[in-house]
Subunit: 478 residues, 2 copies
Amino acid sequence: MQTLLSELKAIVGAAHVLTEGDLSAWTQDWRKRSSGKALAVVHPASTDEVAQVVKACADYLTQYPDSGLSIVPQGGNTGLVVGSTPDDTGRQIVLSLQRLNAVRHIDAANLTLTVEAGCILQTVQEQAEAAGFWFPLSLAAEGSCTIGGNLGTNAGGTQVLRFGNARDLCLGLEVVTPQGDIWPGLSGLRKDNTGYDLKNLYIGAEGTLGIITAATLKLYPQPKAQLTAWAAVPSVEAAVQLLGLAQQHLSASLTGFEMMGQFALSLVARHFANLRVPLYQSSAFCVLLENADAESEAHARAQLEGLLEAALEEGCVTDAVVAENLTQAHNLWQIRESIPLAQALEGLNIKHDISVPVSGMAAFVASTDKLLAQAIAGVRLVNFGHLGDGNLHYNVQAPEGQDAAVFLAEQETRVNSIVFDAVLAHGGSISAEHGVGSLKVDHLTHYKSPVALHTMRAIKQALDPHNLMNPGRVMRLG
Amino acid sequence: MQTLLSELKAIVGAAHVLTEGDLSAWTQDWRKRSSGKALAVVHPASTDEVAQVVKACADYLTQYPDSGLSIVPQGGNTGLVVGSTPDDTGRQIVLSLQRLNAVRHIDAANLTLTVEAGCILQTVQEQAEAAGFWFPLSLAAEGSCTIGGNLGTNAGGTQVLRFGNARDLCLGLEVVTPQGDIWPGLSGLRKDNTGYDLKNLYIGAEGTLGIITAATLKLYPQPKAQLTAWAAVPSVEAAVQLLGLAQQHLSASLTGFEMMGQFALSLVARHFANLRVPLYQSSAFCVLLENADAESEAHARAQLEGLLEAALEEGCVTDAVVAENLTQAHNLWQIRESIPLAQALEGLNIKHDISVPVSGMAAFVASTDKLLAQAIAGVRLVNFGHLGDGNLHYNVQAPEGQDAAVFLAEQETRVNSIVFDAVLAHGGSISAEHGVGSLKVDHLTHYKSPVALHTMRAIKQALDPHNLMNPGRVMRLG
């Protein structure tokens, strides 16, 4: 494979083909569950270089079909399902998009921004803001993840309720195909019915059908005010009722609706003494609401208070606070965002990223809580997530005092079965926003429709017949 | 093919396999540009029957690969690009979805409605309204078109600005594949990252990859008030400036933004004397705005008036009226919706359904107007459309007094070239919302990226290797 490496060095420059030293930043996954070995980490600097690298690899694989060569596209390497790191064969090229990080163009009248795949999400947000606009994709890893990775995995986050997933924020893509061709699909069009929806096929394909090198994204006018409220709700049913009321009162101004269980919040209180967690001690769940208003802060406050009054009257909220200023709002969001770390400090747990229809949420939680309590005495549930999207991080923690590693080793398979079976029974998805990667690929075989899997395989084989692009991710062939 | 017909009669009942009599309702296209001959018009009553019909045809085609048998799926047969009627070989089965017309389920807490493909769009709107919700897909043919056809062609309409195309209003599909299998993808989920986006691949594929038999659609809370305004604007630039102001002032409450040229409005005034067309005589363009408010009519009016005041001050609007009541609002919309008929009464013209980025709209119109005026002395432009989506129906009418049929025969090819070349130069699409069908399939070969066409063909061949489903539509193979 030395001739291939020489060729790649000629394309991107020797300094940008790493084969030695500590490559763990590219070969180990974000949650450190998997560590692989790369033939090389290659850093092209342009779409043309990406295309040439892919073409060189495709040619090599045609010449040596048994070489085991393949390409793993990588953005910020912050994925949660082991989708962007190499396996341990030492025959995979990690193709990092980090050097493709330019904001190419902001089109104010068209409300679009065109950006290269390696641009950090936070940079996209900042550039949009500097131009007077709002790019509303927002998630915990935004300081490290790249927009290419966000699109490759169809990332979700906290504003999906109003703006949709990464997919819904993208109007066009530039993609390098498994043959090394460039699809110039950087459309800034809101309407284009000239054939199959290739854009949405590449989005969420986790690099298995091609490499996203740039995207044209939607911008929105900045809201005049963003107000945050925190409400105590007695049950999941009450939270769902509050969601319905919020949708009626706030319509599209409702940009966040996060539900957090009492145990999840108690972990934040326990491990982050500096954060004052409101209202959780006397309530089974709390809800964080955000209202992004196009008019004024006074209007936003009146609307939010009107909603909470109605909710108190209807009994779905027992108590509530509205943040008085940005610091208070920031603190409320910090509590929500500290749950993942608080649970980690409590000890490893079994993580899920599931969705069910909002109408089935209460029944799902009640029945699954019960099944798990029956299966494992004293089991603790770290239940929180984007209720407005029907998406819960329904995580299962060892009973108090039990060793977390032992718990994981002994219970993970069983717990996954209980949770995923319940998800299926409630018409849900076993991966709402994190994707499949290699971590969930076997689960998918079990929980996804065989017709869908067959169709997915046919598409993969048609577009990447030599299985060059991120093999073994999303689905297995044959 | 008699054995096949017998088999189909056994599946759906002899009364639902039509082979004789006047079949023009199914074999002639909406605009009467094309009339074909069907082997049979088949009306299955359920998804299972659709699957059996497709399976029987697939088996027949496998046995007799030279028989020329294929299936043309059909909804309301209101398409504008000859995509749902048979060719003249007499070897195509028209598979009508008209009998699959049940509303299966309304899920209020999940804000979804599950409906069969043959349900008329207006029925979907009415059922949503009866349940207290809003299904905002709206277009001229809504009394006849079906939701399956809307999804198969990714229909647009007048509310795309806020809610997106048909694609964006759909959460899940049930599809019969070209092999006669059923994909049970009727998800009511807002988030599901378990593999390739099959839903969006089938949407807009115009029946070439499978048959949509049912869909789960998004519902929205009904607005408290819908207000309509009519503004005179001096130029396309001014209309674009007004759009930007409206997006800032009204945010997501802006649900309609239609621009109409002076000549288009003069045709309405000429052919519909009962409609009083406001403000058009002294202005190059008029804009129809709609504000759907979640709060109250008073609030909606204050917001809309605030916008128009700001626009008058900035000079992008020279005069404006706000409808005082529903009747006035209805009349304003009726003017907009009478443009297609008014131009028809004036004589056939050369129709376009193009899109360009909003920021390029003024330059596109100015340069293309000029090119056409140079090419054809006295040419008249019926220019109107969904400016908020960058979508114009940029239609070209014969010079005053010239015979329309002669004009079309002599000028259509040349006019199309001028317009489509200009669209391409401005980064636009030659079919914004009507689709490709057979009418634009040759244009696509010329104007679409070869990499995109290659990828589309690979997908078609992988999913429908015997080319059973609506062959020759969207693209040609080989």
